[in-house]
Amino acid sequence: MKKRLKWQGLFAIVMLLTFVLAGCGNSKNEASSSPSTSASPSASASAEPSASGSANPAGADTSKEVKLKMYLLGDKPKDFDLVYAEVNKLLKQDINATVEVSFLSWGDWQQKYPLLFASGEDFDLIYTANWAQYNTQATKGGFLEITKDMLEKYAPKTAASMYPEAWESAKIDGKVYMLPMNYKEIQGSISLLRGDLVEKYGLDPKELAAKPENLAKYYDAIVKNEKGLIPVNAAGLGWDGVPLFVPWDKMKGWFDLQGTGNLKMYYDSNDPKAKVIPFYQTDLFVEGVKKAKEWADAGYWSKSAMVSKTADNEAFKTGKAAIFGQNLSTINSLYTTVNTEHPEWKAMAIDTNFGRPVDLKPYIQNGVGINKNSKNPERALMMLDLFRNDPRYFDLTFYGIKGKHYDIGADGKSIKLLADSPNYPPEGACPWGWRDDKLVRPIEGGLPNYDDLRNNMLSTAVNNPVLQAFNFDDSSVKNELAAVGNVLTQYVKPLSFGVVKGSVDDAIADARKRLEKAGAQKIVDEYQRQVDAFLASKK
């Protein structure tokens, strides 16, 4: 008896080890067989291709109720659950599904986003964009490929309504991994000021917006007279490569290049060769740092701004900072909130593009992707089709509940915000991925000069500058990017905040030397090589 027990125990251990080893072995086999079948999931064989192919060729089978899981970016508005309860009621009726949404907060989405894919979680939908890791996760195989067939079958309205160029712009190596927004977006740089202070100190908003230097007058008046208010919040992250003062007026026609992290690079849209300009090498950078130092010394932002964790819009909303710069729609949305809560501030928006023409943003600036491991990609597509094309869903997700958060205005098109609106601010719950030109509504009580600002930018806007569809492949310079990113935080970030010990020229020379040593030039060269190849292929 006792002997038997012993052997059983040993047997159990052997079994355990076998399972463990088999587990490793299996995944290896499956993995090595999968690359040929494009982005099809390796582990969950039950997913899209086979299921849809065999079960129901005629159309979508919605007899089984499913629960979809979606990830969005940002912070959850207070009334979010109320609104999505309504959404779920409709979804249940229409496609026998419900959706459960989780938010990745602005504070740490960059860390959490890749983990969702790496952990193999079986969520269905996730917000993605050219600035939100679309490229990285798509090339790593995180998203399910969306084919034209799938679109026509499960999202027929979207298939019909989507701009063809939007579909094209989402392609990576000829495959589409997201549904981009269907919206011609213009962002630009708009700043929200405290109108009461502008008036109080007799400043002319037109003059403030004429040149970047002119904002100093506004800052100066505040620093000297308003105790407890710091003009610029300039919270910690994101200023690694660009000084807090940039002579934008001298960079007309310059556009951002994406894909090199905090190493800021531009190109001049008037230059047919599209020479890559690393910002840290320019004289404008030096000029920016010098001015930033002057402003930092004058106390226009906190000496501890670099480590502050208060978001800029929060600081403005709570009356701790006197300026907030962002794109037009964000400013418009913040304006409505601020103006309801603090009408006495007389918040006002000025155009801080300083004469730079802006670009129409690429469609993939916003979008929604489907997870490779999704168990119900058909239903996910069907839901997106409703979100994108059905006004009932669109209005709910964008503006909240009618009669509670908003009401339709007198013209039948625009919306009027109600008292509860701050609990679900318009466009505040990350619905941007399904934004559509036809369904977006203007907001009453938004910026009074909204149209002026937008038209003004549109009049000079550059439509589709040459490198807009260009995607940088960073695989050959990953190590350099890591090393450079590190130097940027350690040596360039303080410069950006105007915190300089000793002379500016020495500090910049030192930072440049360190960037070169970390391989910045190699990144620039590689970028230029890919840009040249891209331009050559377009001819």
Partner: protein, 304 residues
Amino acid sequence: MTSFLKELKRNRIKFLMISPAVLFYLVLAYLPMGGIVIAFKQFNYNDGIFGSPWVGFENFRYFWESGQLFQVTINTILYNAAFMIINNGLEIVIAIILAEMAGKYLRRFLQSAIFLPYFISWVVVGAFVYNLFNFEFGSVNTLLKSLGADPIDVYSNSSAWIWIILFFSAWKSVGYGTVFYLAAIMNIDNETYEAAEIDGANVFQRIRHITLPALVPTIIILILLSVGNIVRGDFQMFYQIVGDNGLVFDKTDVIDTFVVRSLLTIQEFGMSAAAGVYQSVLSFVIIITVNYFVRRVEKDYALF
């Protein structure tokens, strides 16, 4: 084999008792070791851990490319050595004082008070630090200004951060460590003390000749355990206290913060795994060496 089975049979209850621990380390420490291969691969989701292409030492390159590897490694080791000496020293002193203390309730109270910071998250400590040293509104500067002194700019003074970090590390962890020493002291036979007292030894002589020698094994075990972690910077602590303040990195950057900062915008699993491998190999070498020397001096004190 047969002798092993015999042993298994003889001590089956003891084996059963240790099995949860063995299983824990097997599943959570030994099995994941297979993941080391990621450090030598260009990982993608489709091919998985074992299927992704090999890239050799490519993932390690950013270490020396940035020229910071040496500096951050030295920083990490020096900080941890300082924590080890200061914190252990304080823990021993406090444990002895608490043990010698007469009033039972006062002792309990003090022990809890010292222990309490251990439960405070580093995120909160980070907020403390920011609110203390913020240049415009920080408590320290407000106090200085009200006394008529000039405000100090801590955020551009890298040497100050060494002391800030040492202070908060001690403040947060000493209470926890004290418990170990207190337990060890309580285990010392009371008769020894009584005998010493009769022989006319005063408090300091008793501490010097009875308590301290009895604590040596505990001290050595605890130090050996922390030596194993000497190349691992406490990311939470350094990141939350210092934040993204490039001006002071030369004195405050440790391997972990360096790696996170380098890879934050890149997200290359292979490169983060490479950092882990580097630390593990270094830890392994250090702990083997230290253990070797401990073993030569006093065999009973060595870990293995």
